[in-house]
C-alpha cells in the first residue's frame, strides 16, 4: 500500500469530481484519486448552484469526460454554460489560489470553452477549440504521450520525456486555435504539457496523434500550470494490468504517476 493511502482521513485532500447529466467517466477518476491517497467526492453542479456545496472546501477540482448534456451542441458547451452561469467567479478564485483544476476529454473541452485554458493574458477568451478528429470518426485506441513542458506538478514523474501509454476515446479532440500565433505563444510559455508520440518517441503521425491536433497537442495548461486540460484518459490506466502490450509488465500504469503527481502537488502546497 502506498504511504499516502494511510494518511489519517482528516489529512487527505478533498477533491471535487463535478457531475452533470451525461458526465460518465467519474467512477474511474474517483477510484484513481482515492488510490493515490486523496478523498474524492462527487459533486453535482446542481448542488453547487443551489448553494449546498462550496468549492472552497476542496483542494482540487476534477471535470470528468463523457458527453455532458449529450454534446448535441458543441462538445462541452452546455456544461461550460452552466458552470459560467452558476460558479464562474468561485472557479476563478479557486484557480488563483493555485489549486489544481483538471479537465479530461469532455472536461478539457469545458475548460477551453470557459477560456480557463490557455488563458493567455488572463482574459478568459475562448481561443482554443477542440474540433472533430481529422478522421471524422470516434477514435478509441491506445496512444503515447510525452511531457513537453516544465510543469511543476508533473516534473518529478514525467520530465524524462519517455513516451507513456494512455487510452484516448473521443470524436472531437483536435486542438485548433483561431490564430496559429496563439499556439506558438502557449508553446513558448511552456503551456503544452503533453504531446502525442509514437511508442519510441521518434515521431508522431496518425494514429499516434489520433485527432490531428496541431503540434501533436494532447494537453495544455494555463500560464500558471494549475489548470490542466487533456484529451487522453490516465484514469483508465492506473494499474499495469489496464495497459496494453509490453506495458502490461511495467511496475504500474500511467494513471498512477499522473494522479500521484496531482496529490503530491496538493500535499506539498
Amino acid at each position: 500500500m502506498d504511504s499516502k493511502s494511510i494518511l489519517p482521513e482528516s489529512d487527505k485532500p478533498r477533491v471535487a469530481i463535478l457531475r452533470m447529466e451525461g458526465t460518465n467517466n467519474e467512477d474511474e477518476a474517483f477510484h484513481s484519486f482515492r488510490r493515490s491517497g486523496a478523498e474524492p467526492e462527487y459533486v453535482h453542479i446542481n448542488e453547487i448552484s443551489r448553494g449546498h456545496i462550496d468549492l472552497e472546501d476542496f483542494s482540487a477540482i476534477f471535470i470528468p469526460g463523457g458527453f455532458s448534456a449529450g454534446d448535441y451542441v458543441r462538445a462541452g458547451a452546455i456544461f461550460a454554460a452552466r458552470l459560467r452561469f452558476s460558479v464562474m467567479d468561485k472557479l476563478v478564485r479557486f484557480i488563483s489560489s493555485e489549486k489544481p483544476v483538471i479537465g479530461i476529454c469532455n472536461g478539457f473541452q469545458v475548460l477551453a470553452e470557459l477560456g480557463l485554458i490557455p488563458d493567455i493574458g488572463g482574459r478568459q477568451d475562448r481561443v482554443v477549440t477542440l474540433a472533430p478528429n481529422i478522421s471524422s470518426r470516434f477514435e478509441c485506441r491506445y496512444v503515447y504521450i510525452r511531457m513537453t513542458s516544465r510543469n511543476k506538478m508533473f516534473s518529478a514523474r514525467f520530465s524524462n520525456g519517455k513516451p507513456r501509454q494512455v487510452p484516448v476515446a473521443h470524436a472531437e479532440g483536435r486542438v485548433l486555435a483561431s490564430d496559429m500565433k496563439i499556439i506558438d505563444a502557449i508553446d513558448e510559455n511552456g503551456q503544452i504539457l503533453f504531446r502525442y508520440s509514437n511508442p519510441d518517441g521518434t515521431g508522431c503521425g496518425y494514429p499516434w496523434n489520433p485527432n490531428g491536433s496541431v503540434k501533436d497537442i494532447a494537453a495544455i495548461t494555463n500560464p500558471a500550470g494549475n489548470v490542466i486540460g487533456l484529451m487522453p484518459h490516465p484514469e483508465r490506466v492506473y494499474y499495469n494490468f489496464q495497459m496494453m502490450g509490453n506495458e502490461k509488465n511495467d511496475p504500474n500504469g500511467t494513471g498512477k504517476d499522473f494522479f500521484d503527481s496531482v496529490v503530491d502537488f496538493i500535499l506539498r502546497k
Binding site: 447529466e21 451525461g22 460518465n24 467517466n25 467512477d27 474511474e28 477510484h31 484513481s32 453535482h44 446542481n46 448542488e47 469526460g65 463523457g66 458527453f67 448534456a69 449529450g70 454534446d71 470518426r137 470516434f138 477514435e139 478509441c140 485506441r141 491506445y142 496512444v143 503515447y144 501509454q165 487510452p167 476515446a169 511508442p199 494514429p207 499516434w208 484518459h233 484514469e235 483508465r236 490506466v237 492506473y238 494490468f241 489496464q242 496494453m244 502490450g245 509490453n246
Partner: protein, 770 residues
C-alpha cells in the same frame, strides 16, 4: 398531482361480439393488432361471455399481450421442452425476470441479458440500433445492477453490392446507421462496448439483425425483482415522458416487415442523456433500499410492464392514466397505455419511501409521477379522468395462446461439399481472402465504440501492441474495485453452419463461444441466447428453430451450463424469403484473476505452435467455401465429448503456466487463426500442416470443423503441456519467430508472406464499407 382533462382520439367500445369472421380480421388489420383470425375469434368469445364489448384500450392491450414478442406463442413450448431444468447451484434467477442473475462471488451477482432489435433497425437503422442498446441497459438496471459492459452482434446484407433493399436503403447505409446508433448511445451512456460480431449474408438484405447484450454487477442483497408483491405500494413511472413514438412496436416485430406500409411510427426514439442520470438515480435508490419491484418499459410499454409485474407477484393494480406525464397532450388512453417511448422505468415503492425517492429524482432532474396503486384481486383496472378504460382479468390478459406449429426438419440430401479447385498461388489467395469483408479485421467498427470507459476492461476486444493489435477471443471486465475476479464475455454465432444443419450448426456456435472463453483461461459459466429465425408459420423455419433449441439444451446439459436469459425474434426476412437461422450466443465466463488471463497474440520467438483437437477435413459452411463460391449441403457434426476433454486438458495446462498464448480455430480455419496470432505483435511463424488431416491443402488450411485451438507453448514446457491432455489429438505444427508467415504441406511451401503485408490487407478490409 392534479388530473387534467384529455381530448381523446378513437375511444369507445370496439364491436367484437357478433361480428362476422371477416369483420374480425378486418378489425385486426384496421387497428394494427396483428392478431390472426383464430385469436380474434377467441377474444370475441371471451367478451361475449363477459357480456360486453371491449374498450379500445382493452383490445389494444390484448393485442400487445398476445403478440409473439410478448407471449412467445410459437416458441415457448420448445423453450420449455429443451431448456428447462438447466439451473445450476450458482444460478440465482434464470429465465424468470428481465435478466438472468448469477452468482459472481460471495456477495455479488452478475446480471446479464441480450435482446434483438431487428425490425426497428431494418426500417430506421440508427434509431433502431440505438434503442436496442438503451433497452438492454434498462433490462440490467431494473434488476438493481450497475451496467458494466455492452456487447452487440450485428448481421447485415451483402455489403459488396451497393443496391437498395425493400426499404430503399443500401447495405452500407444500414451498416453505418446501425454502428453509429450503437456507438452514440453506448458512448454517451458511458458503458464500454467490449465484445461483438459482424456478419454479412444476402439473406439479411431486407432484415438486418441487431442483437444487443449487457452485463451488470450488483450486491446479491440489492437484487430487485420484476414483480409486485406488496399490496398498497405506489406505482411510479420515472424517466422519459410518454409519447406516440413506438406504438405497436411489438405487433410490428411479430409479423413480416411489410414492404408497403411505413412502420416508422413503430420505432422508438432513444435519449441517452435521460438514461445516464436515470441510471445514477435508480442505483442510488437501490442502495438505499427504497424500491420493492422494478421493470423497464420496453416492448408493449406500460401494458406489458404493469401486467407482467402484477401477475408475477400475485397482485393487481388500479391505474390512473391522467397522471402519466406526456410528450403530446392529445394522446388517446390506449396510446398512452401501449406507447413504447424510451427511457422509462416502472417502480413499486411503499408510501413511506415516496418522499425519499422524490428527493433523489429531484437531484438528478428526473421527471416522475405516481400512476397507480397495487391492489389485491384478479383484475387490472384502468381509469382515465374518472372513466373506466379497462377491467380485465390478469391471468387471461397475460397468459396468451400457445402454439404447437407444424414443422419440418431438413434432411440434407448430400453430405460432402464439392471441392473448389486448388488455387495456383496461395500467397495471392491469402492476401485477398484476409481482406474479404467476412474474414477481415473489425477494427473499423470496434474503434468507434468506447471500450475503455469505466477503466475496467482488462482484456480488450483487440490485443497486442497499440495500433497494431489483433482480435481477442473474449473481453474480460473487472467489475469490482476490491477484487481481481473478472467476467469473460464472448458473443456470436455460426449462422452459415446453422442454415446447413440447425442442430450441428448451433453446436458449432456453442463450441466456438465456449472456446472463446476457455482460451483466455476463464471458466465458461452461463449462456444467454438471442434466437433470430424466420416465419414460424413456415414449417421449415419452425423446424430450424426447434433443432437449434434442442442443440442448446444438449450442449448445456453436457457442460452443466445454465441458460439464464434469452429472447426469441421470429418473422425475420422478407415476403419472399426468411433470413438464415441465427441463434446468437452470449457466453459469460469467470476469470479467477484478470492479471493472469491469456491473450491471442504470439508473445515470443522460437516457441512451439501446437494444434489441439481433431481436424475433420471438411470445408462445409466455411468462409473459404463461400469465398470460392462452392455450395455446401450439411454442417459438420460437433463432438462435444472431445470438447470436454480439450477443456479439462487446456485449463490444467493454463493453471500450470504452460500456455503462452491461445486462439480458437473458427472462421478462416487454421490459416486465419495462425495469421491472427501473428498480427498482434508482428511475430511470424513457420508451420507444416502435413499431419493435420488426410485432406487436401485447402481443406487443412480452411476447414472450420471440430473443437480446435492453436496454442503457443515454450519448448521447455511442451512435455508438461502435452501430459495435461488425455485422449486429445495434439499436432505440433511448427515454431513462432521471424517476421514472415510460412506454411508448408507435404514438403512443399504454400504460403510465404510478410506478416506486415498480410496484416495490412486484413486490417483494411472494411475500409470501403464503413
Amino acid at each position: 398531482m392534479p388530473g387534467r382533462p384529455r381530448k381523446t382520439v378513437q375511444t369507445g367500445d370496439v364491436e367484437l361480439i357478433g361480428a362476422p369472421v371477416e369483420g374480425l380480421e378486418k378489425l385486426s388489420e384496421d387497428l394494427s393488432l396483428s392478431l390472426n383470425r383464430d385469436e380474434m375469434i377467441m377474444l370475441a368469445h371471451y367478451f361475449r361471455d363477459l357480456g360486453r364489448n371491449p374498450t379500445m384500450l382493452e383490445i389494444q392491450a390484448m393485442a400487445q399481450a398476445w403478440s409473439e414478442h410478448c407471449c412467445y406463442k410459437s416458441s415457448k413450448l420448445y423453450l420449455k421442452k429443451f431448456l428447462s431444468g438447466l439451473k445450476t447451484d450458482y444460478t440465482i434467477l434464470a429465465m424468470e425476470d428481465d435478466a438472468g442473475v448469477v452468482e459472481f462471488d460471495d456477495d455479488h451477482a452478475y446480471v446479464v441479458k441480450m435482446e434483438s432489435h431487428n425490425h426497428p433497425s431494418a426500417i430506421e437503422p440508427y434509431g433502431g440500433a440505438a434503442t436496442g442498446i438503451g433497452g438492454i441497459i434498462r433490462d440490467v438496471l431494473c434488476m438493481g445492477a450497475q451496467p458494466v459492459a455492452l456487447m452487440d452482434s450485428i448481421y447485415l446484407g451483402e455489403i459488396k453490392e451497393n443496391m437498395t433493399n425493400d426499404h430503399g436503403l443500401t447495405q452500407r447505409f444500414t451498416f453505418n446507421g446501425i454502428v453509429s446508433g450503437i456507438r452514440d448511445y453506448g458512448n454517451r451512456v458511458g458503458i464500454p462496448n467490449v465484445a461483438g460480431s459482424v456478419d454479412f449474408h444476402h439473406s439479411y438484405n431486407n432484415n438486418p439483425l441487431v442483437n444487443a447484450g449487457c452485463i451488470g454487477i450488483a450486491r446479491k442483497d440489492n437484487i430487485i425483482r420484476s414483480k409486485i408483491e406488496k399490496v398498497g405500494d405506489l406505482l411510479i413511472l420515472a424517466g422519459g415522458r410518454t409519447g406516440r413514438d413506438g406504438i405497436h412496436g411489438v405487433n410490428f416485430a411479430s409479423v413480416r416487415i411489410s414492404e408497403r406500409e411505413s412502420n416508422k411510427r413503430a420505432v422508438q426514439l432513444g435519449n441517452p442523456i435521460i438514461k445516464e442520470p436515470l441510471i445514477h438515480s435508480i442505483l442510488e435508490a437501490v442502495d438505499q433500499g427504497l424500491i420493492d419491484g422494478m421493470k423497464d418499459l420496453g416492448g408493449g410499454g406500460m401494458s406489458s410492464s404493469v401486467g407482467e409485474m402484477c401477475y408475477a407477484g400475485g397482485t393487481s393494480a388500479e391505474i390512473h392514466l391522467e397522471n402519466v406525464l406526456l410528450k403530446e397532450s392529445d394522446m388517446a388512453p390506449w396510446e398512452i397505455w401501449i406507447s413504447e417511448s424510451q427511457e422509462r422505468m416502472l417502480l413499486a415503492v411503499s408510501k413511506e419511501n415516496l418522499e425519499r425517492i422524490a428527493q433523489i429524482f429531484k437531484k438528478w432532474d428526473i421527471e416522475f409521477s405516481v400512476i397507480g396503486t397495487v391492489k389485491e384481486g384478479n383484475n387490472l383496472v384502468i381509469y382515465n379522468g374518472g372513466k373506466k378504460e379497462m377491467d380485465l382479468s390478469l391471468p387471461f390478459l397475460t397468459s396468451g395462446p400457445m402454439y404447437c406449429r407444424p414443422y419440418r426438419t431438413k434432411v440434407p440430401d448430400r453430405k460432402e461439399t464439392a471441392l473448389p479447385r486448388e488455387p495456383q498461388n496461395f500467397n495471392e489467395l491469402m492476401l485477398k481472402f484476409a481482406s474479404d469483408p467476412n474474414v477481415c479485421s473489425r477494427f473499423r467498427v470496434i474503434r468507434q465504440y468506447d471500450f475503455t470507459v469505466r477503466g475496467n476492461t482488462i482484456s480488450k476486444p483487440l490485443t497486442g501492441f497499440p495500433n497494431h493489435e489483433t482480435h481477442s477471443d473474449c473481453a474480460i471486465i473487472r467489475p469490482l474495485e476490491e477484487s481481481m475476479r473478472g467476467l469473460a464475455l464472448s458473443i456470436g454465432t455460426a449462422a452459415r453452419m446453422v442454415s446447413l444443419n440447425p442442430y450441428n450448426g448451433t453446436l458449432a456456435a456453442l463450441s466456438e463461444g465456449f472456446r472463446n472463453i476457455m482460451v483466455s483461461g476463464s471458466i465458461p459459466h452461463s449462456i444467454v441466447d438471442s434466437l433470430n429465425f424466420g416465419d414460424p408459420e413456415k414449417p421449415d423455419s419452425m423446424g430450424e428453430f426447434i433443432e437449434s433449441v434442442r442443440a442448446i439444451g444438449d450442449f448445456c446439459r453436457k457442460f452443466k451450463l445454465p441458460v439464464v436469459a434469452g429472447n426469441v425474434s421470429l418473422y425475420n426476412g422478407s415476403s419472399s424469403s426468411s433470413i438464415i437461422p441465427t441463434p446468437t450466443i452470449l457466453f459469460t465466463g469467470i476469470c479467477e484473476n484478470v492479471t493472469a488471463a491469456l491473450s491471442s497474440e504470439f508473445k515470443g520467438d522460437g516457441n512451439i505452435v501446437v494444434l489441439i483437437g481433431n481436424s475433420p477435413p471438411d470445408l462445409s459452411g466455411s468462409l473459404y467455401s463461400i469465398y470460392s463460391g462452392v455450395t455446401s449441403y450439411d454442417a459438420p457434426g460437433v463432438d462435444i465429448d472431445e470438447l470436454s476433454r480439450i477443456y479439462s486438458g487446456f485449463i490444467e495446462a493454463f493453471r500450470r503456466g504452460f500456455v503462452v498464448s491461445a486462439h480458437d480455430v473458427s472462421g478462416g480455419g487454421i490459416a486465419m487463426t495462425a495469421f491472427e496470432m501473428s498480427f498482434g505483435r508482428g511475430i511470424g511463424f513457420s508451420i507444416d500442416i502435413s499431419d493435420v488431416s488426410h485432406g487436401r491443402t485447402t481443406q487443412k488450411l480452411f476447414s472450420e470443423a471440430g473443437n480446435r485451438i492453436i496454442a503457443e507453448v515454450k519448448e521447455k514446457d511442451y512435455e508438461g503441456f502435452s501430459k495435461c491432455f488425455t485422449d486429445v489429438n495434439l499436432v505440433k505444427l511448427g515454431r513462432t519467430g521471424g517476421d514472415r508467415a510460412i506454411i508448408d504441406d507435404m514438403g512443399l511451401n504454400y504460403v510465404n508472406l510478410g506478416v506486415e503485408e498480410l496484416r495490412e490487407a486484413w486490417d483494411h478490409g472494411l475500409d470501403n464499407y464503413i
